[in-house]
Amino acid sequence: MNQVLWAQTIYIAFIIFLVYFLLLVVFYVLLAFFGFLEDKRRSQEHEGESYPLIYFSNLAIPVSIILPAHNEEEWIRESLLSLLNLNYPAFEVIVVDDGSIDKTFEILNEMLELKAVDRVYTKHYPEGKVTAIFKSDKYPNVTVMRKTSGEKKAGAVNAGLNIARHRFVCTMDSDTVLERDALLKIMAHVHRDPERIIGIGSSFGLVNGFIVKNGTIIKRDCSYRPIIAYQNLEYIRSFIGNRLAWSRFNATPIVAGGFGIWRSDILYELGGYSSDFSSEDLEFTFRGQEYMAKNKEKKYKIQMMPYYVGWTEGPSDVRSLIKQRDRWQRVVIEGVIKYKHMMCNPRYGTFAFLVFPYFVFYEVLGVFFEVSSIFLVTVGLITKMVDVKTFLLYLAFMGLVQLIITLLSLFTFIRGQRVFKMSYILYLILLSLFEFFSYRVIISIAKLCGTYHFMLNKRSYDQYTRPKRAT
């Protein structure tokens, strides 16, 4: 390529990237504004809510909680105990042992005193092969299913759905420890409008560094290890910075698999979770949005709450982090490609014009914008088409955009948060100053890997190696 062509290419790319990042800042400022309003609204509702009144009321809507577990001997005890400790008057727990080859089932048997039963049910959802169903002698509201593995988490949750009795179903991860009032807080909101709220999620953070005993968090020492703290920051950005604002427009793009509640009749209408994807939560929420658009007259809602309802285990080394984010990136691309017909389609409202383009241009293509822009200005600098001042200004611009996005989310978060100590918030602010040159690089690598693996048609639910939890 001759020099003129190079120069033209760099120039055009430069303009495109400049416009992209400027739009991104404007977009995030708007998101932060609406997220702030939404957080304020929910906090006020929360403060006005009478939880004991719900707890002691006979009007509480019962919930089926499905806990899928695949080789979870390390986590299953604490997760299950956190469920059994829940402050909610009416719920059942269905643990699905998804072909574990470790001691998961033995632990369940010892904890629950299981007795095999003959349970007849209709297989409404594809679940794989269920080998046995057990009832707990010790806890009458607990059922355990054993099935062969192979259908990922989606298959395990579907198996649980097949025997779930209640009108609302909560799905979660087996390494999530729930707060005692998690269900009460979220269902209190559902109780306001059970006919329209079909799905609801909430925030959670990383349990790394916490001490958990008998399903209860007894010491909340957030980890100061940068890799964990950066993930906490990312969770804040995602849950508080983005999803709350989407929720304000009834355009929630994802009810996280770590803790999400869906109305069972809607799950039925939508045919349950699909195991064709690397992970089930995003695809199912997109399907839910599509369903809402098709049934506009019913004014359904999928909402997001700002409360920290639980704590999940996060990757504690770079390799595990890349593995996890690789899968997340595949999930996003799979969802975007499957539902591409929703993009800017007036039929799907705000979701089609704000959320879907965001997923396409930021979540899927954003990494290419970032990497290519850095690559091109670097090439421009080397070939002396761009001077040092422009190069540095451009790098500073991208770093500042990233910083502003994070700080705006933290600003919204600090308003209602009673989760982290102020010293930890200050630490997160400090980390955010260096994010662009450290954590962001790792995430970009993971996203590129994810895109590459997607193109290789990889659809597996890869589990990274998780650290041992402090006791």
């Binding site: 400049l18 006005g48 004991p52 039963v117 200004l393 700080l407 918030i425």
Partner: protein, 427 residues
């Protein structure tokens, strides 16, 4: 070299830098201010209870019994924990505390002072204290003050006013709360829960809300009526089983069930044919409430319903009334439909009838013959895991005898059970 908008990027960078700086400084500042006001708020909440505490411990206003009851029911530590966790209901008072309040404020002069503070104080938390006190004093003259505060924009004032009215538990306060429920969509569940604790006498006020255009208002009105278990509005409830909203139809069924009036039987049986599973499920529950074990005949048809949730509801009812359900279940077992046979097995097993079946098997004679026949049908229909648990409670001889009977029916099942129970009590 091209113009790379260096000046523009520089200006944008400067702008972003100052925005970032403002946020870096603003976040801790904002967090600190929030923390300060929250701490102050919690202190105020504590002060409410502490004031009552002081009142209770004052020998001039409370008898020793009242003091003892007060101290037993709420310890200072509980109160501090509650305030720290921001559960605001706990700043409210138990029955003993309420009587102290009433004694102290029952004089009209005091009530007037409280009303004045509740209506006009510039200090929001003093207003809330006064509003609470008015609610606990229960003076009817305070209703107008509480009505105004109930409909104020301030969430805290409105919230505490609702709870204060909830403490009055009379038709006037019910009327206000019902109006609030109708106009305020955000707190309906809470208001319904409050009203559910009112005496059933207010049901004539509640029933009026079932005429509302908003389905949610009708639904909550029915939920309140259900908690009264009142049978004075059966006809209206029957009408509501034909409402356009499934939520309302379901709630109407529930109300009819708890009202306990058998005149609604025909309506409820009609609801078993509703197009929405939720209504059918509620109708099954209502019929069980009304008829007890006689409901089996009415709900049995729904065992082959399209909705598995309805089937589950019916299974539960049949398992609970197994003696009445058994003839139907035996028919299912003798029939051709494999699903019905499997369901029959599950119901028999989950009802605990297997233990009786084993006892009958051990009894000998005609009883044994009948039990053996039923067991044979169950095994043919797929009874498998559920046969085991009841064997744990038998002694070794009985276990062997049952195992022998099972061997007569199906050698494989008997072998599987023997294998399963090896190393446990009987082998």
């Amino acid at each position: 070299m091209y113009n790379y908008f260096t000046d523009l990027v520089w200006k944008v960078d400067v702008g972003l830098f100052f925005l970032a700086l403002a946020l870096v400084l603003g976040i801790p500042y904002y967090g600190g201010v929030k923390f300060y006001f929250e701490s102050r708020r919690i202190k105020k909440l504590r002060a409410i209870k502490e004031n009552v505490y002081r009142l209770a411990l004052n020998k001039e206003t409370a008898s020793p019994q009242q003091q003892a009851s007060f101290i037993r029911n709420i310890s200072p530590q509980i109160f501090l924990d509650v305030a720290a966790n921001r559960v605001r209901e706990e700043v409210f008072f138990n029955e003993a505390e309420q009587s102290i309040f009433k004694q102290h404020y029952i004089e009209q002069a005091n009530i007037r002072k409280l009303e004045s503070v509740a209506a006009r104080s510039f200090n929001k938390w003093r207003r809330i204290e006064a509003i609470l006190a008015l609610g606990y004093a229960g003076a009817s003259t305070s209703l107008e003050t509480l009505k105004k505060s109930l409909f104020e924009k301030d969430e805290d004032i409105s919230y505490f006013s609702a709870l204060a009215l909830g403490q009055m538990r009379n038709p006037d306060s019910a009327r206000l709360l019902l109006e609030f429920l109708r106009k305020n969509s955000a707190h309906r569940y809470k208001i319904a829960s409050l009203l559910g604790q009112f005496p059933p006498a207010v049901s004539s006020e509640v029933i009026l809300l079932t005429q509302d255009n908003d389905y949610s208002v009708r639904f909550f009105a029915l939920q309140i009526l259900a908690s009264f278990k009142d049978s004075s509005h059966i006809e209206r409830l029957e009408e509501l089983t034909r409402d356009e909203s499934a939520e309302v139809r379901g709630a109407a069924c529930e109300c009819l069930g708890v009202a306990g009036d058998r005149s609604a039987l025909a309506t409820l049986k009609g609801c078993l044919k509703d197009r929405v599973w939720f209504v059918k499920m509620q109708a099954v529950g209502a019929l069980e409430n009304l008829l007890g074990d006689e409901c089996v005949g009415a709900v049995i048809e729904l065992i082959s319903d399209n909705s598995w949730l309805v089937i589950d509801g019916v299974k539960k009812v049949l398992a609970k009334h197994i003696e009445n359900a058994l003839p139907y279940l035996e028919n299912f077992l003798a029939g051709e439909d494999p699903l019905s046979r499997n369901i029959a097995v599950e119901i028999i097993e989950s009802s605990g009838y297997i233990e009786k079946l084993y006892t009958d098997l051990l009894a000998g004679g005609a009883t044994r013959g009948k039990a053996l026949d039923l067991l044979k049908r169950m095994v043919k229909a797929g009874a498998y895991n559920g046969l085991d648990p009841a064997l744990y409670s038998l002694d070794k001889g009985q276990y062997r005898e049952i195992l022998g009977s099972l061997r007569e029916i199906d050698e494989t099942v008997a072998r599987r059970i023997e294998e399963n129970l090896k190393g446990k009590d009987h082998s």
